[in-house]
Amino acid sequence: MTRPATAAAIAERARRIRATSLQMVHAAKMGHPGGDLSAADILATLYFRVLSIDPAQPSHPARDRFILSKGHASAALYATLAEAAFFPAEWLASYMQPLSRLNGHPDRNKVPGVEANTGPLGHGLPIAVGAALGARLAGETWRTFVLTGDGELQEGSNWEAAMAAAQFELDRLTVIVDRNGLQQGDFTERTIGLEPLADRWRAFGFAVAEVDGHDVAALIDVFERLPLERGRPTAVIARTRKGRGVSFIENRAEWHHRVPTDAELALALVELAERRP
């Protein structure tokens, strides 16, 4: 990245990522729009301000690594990567089409800029721990970021990885929790509750920050203070709303994988346009 983007410019990118994600899900007649919209501001902040990456050299050895553990938000990730020019925007039209490289879940072998094959939940953080360890073993200073869902934290593998990250003192590792409070079937707290989530991460040896996951300036502020504590991995709990940006999608469990009708898409795009920063 040449010049750091402003919070307003990042918010505009996030708005476009939201609109593109919804169009992709609508065209594919399949997808996970709630989780896409939830993560858009976090993705935009990372890709247009925080990560040290070069879309022209997606495999540059010294790049920061970002792993989307909540792989069902693939439309948002692909939209972000296209915004960042990792691949041509025309690819997006093929989302989930036969033989497309844009699977319903991210694929590192097919898509430039994707770092891990995710989708099954609870895989991202262990892989990120290994990547961060690998950087240290090689004496390199690049950083590893992983975005998990909150419902996803019900998978025990995350806590195996959390214990290891703290034990290994991986302070170049940051886990961001998209804390939208919803999972596929219901609210997380009505399913298997996660609170007190910040205390849990602290108890596992992480430095913790809690932030409004839709406040780009606040996200930038946290990410630019990393590592929050020397010798500790960081957990950023980003409080979000699933479906953020579209009134009739926001905070409703059924939009985990509902597909907007033509009319709903049109209305959603109008709402998003009106929210232009």
Binding site: A116, I127, V129, G130, G134, E160, A164
Partner: protein, 310 residues
């Protein structure tokens, strides 16, 4: 009697030698430094021995991450837990991701015989063999173990090394060059072929010697790579006569199934598949269990004799 060896020693020595030559080689384990024989590795390369504790899903994920950052991880643990508990990570994080991780399933098969069926690993070949991009190697003795570890390190991609702890005699010739995907004809014969891998190879050779005294000429094929299978050699065996397969594994989906898949498509012949017949094995020493399921020399001879004379 010929001296018997614990192949974990060859495994551990080779791993240290590899790590000396290649700084990318790291060992990852699940609180199994001792049982994986990694004590010497840890002493020599303390930073390159990563013990993730009792957490197999994380072990495989961490190994994938290490590979993504350019390391060559040897992910070690008891095969029953490593493969069973982390099977989805093996599929998604290693195989589908084509990460260069060497999965080392130790004490596989019925090596933990007395500990009971929870600790038997008689499904690991079926599980790993069913996953695309996986290479599955089952060395039979210390020579082949050392060669397989080196070949796995040189191979670019995920490999499952199925390693036992049952003491075995040397059956392979130092001069044989081990190659992933190539089987080794240990003994030629004209009446039938016994196909084995791992700890059953020595039993197959003994069975062939017993059969020889009865005037039955048995070839013995060491099928040390289960996937990709040496089709050419298997078809060649089928052309010559019936086949007995012997595996320290369930008969469903393992070595015998792999051979049968080739045989029925290419040159149908009569087969007997010896293994654990779709049950949980009882408790007992590894030697007892081999005998119990007819996977020892006497059992193999019996099966071969009935097949040839049928």
């Amino acid at each position: 009697m010929t001296a018997r060896h614990d192949c974990r020693r060859a495994f551990a020595e080779t791993l240290v030698a590899l790590a000396e030559r290649d700084s990318r080689v790291v060992a990852v384990c699940n609180d199994s430094v001792g049982s994986s024989n990694l004590t010497a590795f840890r002493a020599r390369f303390p930073d390159r021995l990563i013990n993730v504790g009792i957490a197999e899903q994380n072990l495989v994920g961490v190994s994938a991450g290490l590979a993504s950052a350019g390391r060559i991880p040897f992910a070690c643990g008891a095969s029953c837990f490593l493969t069973g508990r982390a099977l989805e990570q093996i599929k998604a994080d290693l195989a589908y991701s084509r990460h260069n991780v060497k999965l080392c399933g130790l004490s596989s098969g019925m090596a933990y015989g007395e500990l009971g069926p929870t600790h038997h690993s008689i499904e690991d070949l079926a599980w790993t063999r069913a996953i695309a991009h996986m290479t599955v190697v089952v060395p039979s003795d210390p020579i082949e173990t050392a060669a397989a570890v080196q070949a796995a390190a040189a191979f670019d991609g995920p490999v499952f090394l199925r390693l036992s702890r049952m003491p075995v005699p040397v059956v392979c010739d130092e001069r044989h060059s081990f190659e992933i995907g190539r089987s080794i004809l240990l003994r030629d014969g004209t009446d039938l072929t016994i196909v084995a891998a791992g700890v059953t190879v020595t039993e197959a050779l003994e069975a062939a010697a017993l059969l020889d005294r009865e005037g039955i000429s048995a070839a013995v094929l060491n099928l040390s790579t289960i996937r990709p299978i040496d089709r050419e050699r298997v078809v060649d065996a089928a052309r010559r006569g019936p086949i007995v397969t012997v595996e320290e594994h369930t008969v469903h989906g393992g070595l015998g199934s792999a051979v049968a898949e080739v045989v029925v498509e290419s040159h149908p012949t009569r087969m007997r598949m010896l293994g654990v017949p779709g049950v949980f094995a009882p408790t007992g020493s590894p030697a007892f269990l081999l005998q119990h399921f007819g996977l020892d020399a006497a059992g193999i001879r019996e099966a071969a004799r009935s097949l040839v004379r049928a």
